[in-house]
Symmetry: C2
Subunit: 309 residues, 2 copies
């Protein structure tokens, strides 16, 4: 028999799936699986296989899933909700279906016209943002600039709990491509955060140059290795500093003056964004991305249950 306070929260991105069995704020179990972009079987099969132990123990369980699972290449396509949008609009646009006698809800993404006047999209980050509002109520009131670093960094303006607008940057994907596939690449090991001084050097270099230099500054990562014997790890940190510096300085320009930014993400990457923000005179506050995703799914589940189900 179904326990009405139990549910499965799923953060199902391109590269990984994190399933969590929750009872209210309590975590009873965790299971990890392949992402939407790397899996080989059907998503339904993966989900059943990872959750079957929990269901055997507790009976049918409702599930809330966010991220790439809601794209055309995911489980079922969910719409983009246009901004400004709060969690209520996202809950209304969610897609729900029954699997093995329990409802599965797929959270939709958001779309907007970004500060550069172009169409923009996010999927998964909206849930982290709603989670951030849940775990830090101060962010749910007033106007705040948030950044969610990752493969595609998302900068978002949230005002009184509504996502007003956001802006994506290719920062993480370009770093990964250059690190693994380019002439700048020297293996694919992750550089240790801040260990070499290269990151601060990259930020300082970007900051000292006029805007628009990034396409040319990137080649320095190679020429400094050839002519100045910059070691590999330092060069990769220098590359990271150039790219994150270019992302941060431009984003701060588009979103106008601010004194602090909430950085939501994996801690080591979030710390790099924080260091870059501080180099440009802006304070950084931090929230863990996985924690926010889970808090967001929980808030969406609880509020949906209170409302219509």
């Amino acid at each position: 028999m179904e326990d009405s306070t139990l549910f499965i929260a799923g953060d199902w991105g391109t590269t990984s799936l994190r399933l969590t069995l929750c009872r209210g704020a309590e975590v009873l179990g965790r299971a990890n699986g392949p992402g939407v972009g790397v899996q080989t079987g059907a998503l339904e099969t993966i989900f059943r296989s990872l959750s079957k132990g929990w269901i055997a123990e507790h009976g049918p369980l409702p599930a809330f899933l966010c991220g790439m699972v809601g794209t055309r290449i995911g489980w079922i396509e969910t719409p983009y909700v246009p901004c400004p949008a709060g969690s209520a609009a996202v809950r209304r646009a969610a897609v729900r279906f029954i699997l093995d006698n329990a409802p599965v809800t797929i959270v939709p993404g958001l779309s907007c016209s970004n500060p550069l006047g172009a169409p923009d999209v996010m999927r998964g980050e909206e849930t982290q943002i709603f989670g951030a509002l849940a775990v830090m109520p101060a962010v749910a009131r007033g106007r705040h600039l948030l950044v969610l670093p990752g493969t595609h960094a998302k900068w978002a303006i949230v005002e009184d709990g509504m996502v007003q607008s956001f802006l994506s940057a290719m920062t993480g994907e370009i770093f990964a491509l250059l690190r693994v596939h380019s002439v700048l690449s020297m293996g694919d090991g992750n550089p240790a955060a801040g260990s070499t001084g290269g990151f601060a050097k990259g930020i300082a270099r970007l900051k000292a140059m006029p805007a628009g230099a990034i396409m040319h500054l990137l080649f320095e990562v190679r020429s400094r290795q050839l002519l100045e014997a910059m070691p590999r790890d330092e060069a990769m940190d220098f590359l990271s500093g150039l790219l994150i510096g270019a992302d941060v300085t431009a984003a701060l320009q588009w979103f106008g003056t601010t004194t602090s930014v909430m950085v939501i993400g994996e801690p080591a990457l979030a710390a790099r964004y924080g260091e870059a923000l501080e180099a440009f005179g802006v304070a950084a506050n931090y929230l863990d991305g996985a924690t926010c995703a889970l808090a967001g799914l929980r808030a969406l589940f609880v509020n949906t249950k209170r409302g219509e189900i």
Copy 2:
């Protein structure tokens, strides 16, 4: 017996080798092979195998080779000649050895402190530049801005035949990585030049935005496909326009006001740089890259023969 006017010219880059059998300005034969970055056997073996028919017919032949063949991962490492540098300094720094009773000469690259104050390098493009001076004597006098588009675009200031300074951009490599490996990728077919209107749209978009927007503009290539149904070929041309636009506008800024730029490269890519230059109010003149490489090797061979050999 060696014919003293015959020689083998070799443009040996990362991805391909172009060998040409020359008698003065006359081309007697061509042979293509794998580049330094993609070959599996020894470069010596590849060279012998491609040239053996010519040597069987004409006897031992001197060879002049430029490009990545002169790097640590090439045949023999040649130095970088610091700028300002003309063809005489390059000839003096060339490395020569005897293979099967004939001299093989490997052309060195150039290094400089670029307009952004960073160390910079080129290898292979110096030979194309000297070739351009040979085929277009007007460029050998006065001050000229040249661009050599490619995997790594090189912008160079040439004054009275001397390369004064240059600046590299990652433009071509970033385009290739994004086109083939990224979330923006939709196959690896080469977009037809100017066929979709996407390229002009990309240039116009880049031009309308403040400097420094490129990291964020790149994500539009995806969101315009998702939300505006931009077709794949147009999206790839749009991406090309954004990247080349960012390269061109920044380079024009570093090198100061100019009314025309000499574009040296593969014709379709050169035409794209020309279109971008014209969008920023600068006229483009064109020279074919392969023609310039051969002319440069010929000039280096002839002048070396006149001098010391």
